[in-house]
Subunit: 251 residues, 2 copies
Amino acid sequence: MRILITNDDGIHAPGLKSIASVAAEFGEAIIVAPDRERSACAHAMTMREPLRVNEVKYQAAPVKAFEVNGLPVDCVNVGLTIGWPDGCDLVLSGINNGPNLGFDVTYSGTVAGAMEGAINGIRSIGVSMAPLSTEKPIDYEIGAIWLRENWDDLVHLDLPPLVFLNVNVPNNPPKGTRLVGMGQRVYKDRVEMREDPWGRPYYWQGGVAVLDGAQPNTDIQAVRDGFTSVTPISLDWTDHEVLKRLQKSFE
Amino acid sequence: MRILITNDDGIHAPGLKSIASVAAEFGEAIIVAPDRERSACAHAMTMREPLRVNEVKYQAAPVKAFEVNGLPVDCVNVGLTIGWPDGCDLVLSGINNGPNLGFDVTYSGTVAGAMEGAINGIRSIGVSMAPLSTEKPIDYEIGAIWLRENWDDLVHLDLPPLVFLNVNVPNNPPKGTRLVGMGQRVYKDRVEMREDPWGRPYYWQGGVAVLDGAQPNTDIQAVRDGFTSVTPISLDWTDHEVLKRLQKSFE
């Protein structure tokens, strides 16, 4: 089994080591990851600059590893070009150092790595650790154990082309796994204005995720309840109900 | 009507001038756009660097205009912060200098600007010029005319929250408008390897869009047939059919 691994936390991220260790148990794995942290880079693609690829020694797992001066999308496409031009069997992205729940999915570089795998016609899975507070450090081993235990299911699930999986693992041993939809995660206080030492304004974007209110059958609720969430994500973002309604009203 | 305008081609792009001219006819418009071209930046968000906002003189339309050292998502959130902290009535993104059809939507900064408007609970529309060849230069006036003529419909369409519109206008006067789904646009030869003057390899990502095969009821087919495509895009990317099937098989 040929497994391409990427992430958005960069080649030195601890979550990458965990996912690579698991992958190496199940097949021939290659890491192609950004040379630095690129969080919240979404499904962006480097088009206007050349990409450089540099093989690095990787101690944490028996895999080949390459760093790229680019984003997860770049890593997947360059990785296939240098590794398996005819495609591979699995793209793994992660393990991310934070949740990718609800609308996070739209900003996430981790999810984007899996998305690009799916666009290339390859089974793809994004994995994130989803602590609900910053009380204790992220324990990637929890994610690695979950991935190892559920490997066969994940690899053999009957998924149509262009559908990939977004996985969020809680930061405590999960009570189980729930197949769920993508919830709604809203941020408050998105932009903060500050002044530099010369009195000129600048802006930080960030904000605090608001997870209040029950969201049954979603990734957010699953993780809040202590379960690992697995969400099948489509590459057709059409709202088909709205489309049908609008088409009727336009006829 | 308060209208926030952004794009991913940057504050100096001709398509921005066209969309701003139309918007200024219908309400109070503010441009908050990247200070340079940021194509294919997707729904990325600047989190690790401060954002600077600089008011610029804008000759092409009677609007206030600000440039930001960031991406469309940043521009929408900073724009709301400096302009209308309680929200505005419409977010417009574009007019992009190329198609955003099918999977382009996942890479597009233009679409991401509209997406961020929708996440903020505001009616949002991304507009792109979609020439099917590079034979003649893009004529943004075609897009502006279409937008002006269809303004009332676009603003009054009965859309639920979190659903926004992705519009692609052909580069010839459109035969009409079709409400359609998001198609599948695959690129060939995504990554090209070259050598620098010192014989070291580097990689360009790009590729050629392949639009062969009929795709009825999609944006791709509509534009190919000479129509403007309007696609309602959802922020729930769950594949609900697959989810139901997998949940059953897991029970």
